[in-house]
Subunit: 396 residues, 2 copies
């Protein structure tokens, strides 16, 4: 256990690169690891031999796709390490513990008041993590790390930037609050960025080095992935797609701007509209169900939202020309009544792709695997597995 | 000469990485090369010894900035290689030859009819390059490469995609047309992407690994640079900022969309507006001069354009949160009457940067070094120096 912790965290050691490559992918062949780490085939083979002998790496069942002789799949020894993911949600906290092969060992959801404080959150996480670790028979300080997903952009050192969802948390230092209560490395990131990591690790973006994730849920968020890494921007607030200004004279937004995309598309806004029309409360789940069924009012609401969302995505497409769009969030669960007008609108607003050159790749459009809030909590686990967004090391 | 050609083109050899690092930077210290190439200090030192002995690398005058002992600056031996840049412009072709220390040895401009064909262009380039090479005493096939800048997005294999400026060139295979007439490696790229490479190599973005270049000229273009490389997107049409749709009901654009940014901002459009107002022809240079002087009609035109341009840039800023914006193109030569309202508008439309966390970096805003068309032809040279956009190798 000691051994893998050291390897996992050593950025320079080739063996560390292999271990992190396996941690990120769950299972891989030697050839895939060579490609992912940039290490030569013979180096990979030598190191894998050592790691196998130390029982850090094990052979697993399953064969690779493609032609030719099937190659042996390898993974980290699941017993060699555990990591945890924490979702700081609206009125609830969810904590998952996984082993190194990406298997969920424990999954707990805790309800809190909507305005819980950072201290409440940290105390709750500490207590629950201790209990969960006890149940699976390890001690908390043995965790390779805890990842924290939060509904706000974060600075690189873990300070909460502007947040629509948790406004009272703005400026909070996540590292300071949590590090004093947890005895292991800490990682933290914006929830949509975590969502992208979850899709890369378990979902619709496995093997995709470059893509854009657009999340349409109660709010609107997103992530840009380039070369297998989530783009954070100069201060951590990249990919805040909900705040693309579509209409300078549009409704004022909590961010301080006007006419933001989220003001036309966010689930929060759509259920308020639906309530005004039908005269009774509507939950997001009811909205999704009725829009999926194609009930009149809902169908028009979601089509109009898809038109605007596609406009925003079209702009993103013109700017980035990405190989792939992944559509996440509860609104995606509506299915074709949302996705079809969304893709149509995207293709309409994006710079038209050239027709005079044949065989040219164009941006693809797929639905995420995770449409509930599994993406964020699993993405929080992936923060540790992929060593992204580290804000605190193991205390000395 | 033979030797450097081989090194320069070998992607795997550490010595090749060093040579390309020096080619990209013009001059650098051993420490800078170690950082740029990712090679260890001692490896760099050993290889530099060999390259010095072979007279491929030489010591140059000049001392590095910063504290401590000044470090020796190194460059490639200028005599060891030459490369050429070609700008395929509107009714003109410009060809520059540089040595490996980025010194311009020859610069020729040739006027053609506005609707010159690809074959005309290739024949003209061949003839002029031969003459220029003769003048500086080398043979054309000894060039390390020829870079070609063109006012259109290009596919990775050098096919011209949609083009507003050269519509009759759409679909043309640059590699096929030029490779039969030139006996050296060919590179080709969109002119705004070349502009970014020029600013990285000689201009306002030296040492900037990540930035966004926005070019406001007769047209509107741009480039996104990440990790010292220009982002091309899935098919080569990334960063077509002129086609960000600001107004779905706006004027129709040649690209097939409506309300594109360029329809509000392009110099082409602004001089047509000015002509309609004052009743006589206006050139872009006259427009720039009068707007710089603050003449009434021009001042309002450029302020309105800056407002819209800043809206587009604000959207780019919200999406990418880049460390730096570089403003290029002739409109930037107007100076503060354009740049001040542009920056104000950018800051207004971009997601407001958080104020509750102190010391947070925010996107900077600078003017490019090259505001004429030097950026494109020098960027075409940089295509070779930085080995970007290769479409044909040396013929066998």
């Amino acid at each position: 256990m000691q051994e893998i912790n050291k390897l996992f965290l050593d950025e320079d050691l080739p063996a560390g690169r292999l271990v992190r490559g396996l941690a990120a992918s769950g299972a891989a062949t030697a050839a895939q690891l060579s490609k992912a780490t940039g290490l030569g085939r013979s180096t990979v083979s030598t190191i894998l031999g050592d790691l196998r002998e130390a029982r850090i790496v094990i052979d697993v069942d399953g064969r690779t796709n493609g032609f030719g002789r099937p190659s042996q799949l390898l993974s980290l020894n699941p017993d060699m390490g555990r990591c945890a993911g924490v979702l700081l949600g609206l009125g609830e906290i969810r904590i998952v513990i996984c082993d190194m092969t990406h298997t969920v060992l424990s999954d707990v959801q805790i309800h809190l008041s909507r305005d819980y404080t950072p201290q409440d959150a940290a105390d709750t996480v500490r207590r629950s993590l201790d209990a969960q670790c006890r149940t699976i028979g390890i001690s908390q300080e043995k965790l390779l790390g805890v990842g924290i997903a939060i509904s706000a952009p974060l600075s690189f050192d873990g300070k909460v930037l502007n947040s629509d969802v948790l406004p009272s948390w703005a400026g909070v230092d996540i590292a300071e609050i949590f590090a004093s209560r947890l005895d292991c490395p800490l990682h933290a990131e914006n929830e949509s960025h975590c969502g992208a990591l979850a899709e890369m690790t378990w979902g619709a973006a496995i093997g995709e080095a470059d893509f854009v994730l657009c999340k349409f849920d109660l709010g609107v968020g997103g992530a840009i992935v380039r070369d297998n890494a989530v783009v954070r921007g100069v201060n951590g607030s990249a990919a805040e797609f909900g705040h693309i200004v579509l209409d300078p004279q549009g409704p004022h937004c909590r961010c301080g701007n006007r006419g933001c995309l989220k003001g036309h598309v966010a689930g929060d806004y759509l259920i308020r509209l639906a309530q005004d029309i039908i005269g009774e409360p509507v939950t997001i789940d009811q909205f999704v169900e009725r829009a999926a069924e194609g009930q009149m009012v809902y169908r028009r609401l979601i089509e109009d939202a898809a038109e605007k969302a596609g406009w925003g995505m079209g702009i993103i497409g013109t700017i980035l020309n990405p190989p792939l769009f992944v559509i996440a969030g509860k609104l995606a669960a509506i299915g074709k009544n949302f996705l079809e007008p969304l893709e149509r609108s995207l293709r309409r607003y994006m710079l038209p792709q050239p027709e005079n050159v044949s065989g040219l790749p164009i941006p693809r459009f797929v639905v995420a695997r995770f449409l509930g809030n599994d993406d964020t909590v699993m993405g929080a686990v992936a923060l540790v597995l992929r060593q992204h967004g580290k804000i605190a090391s193991r205390p000395m």
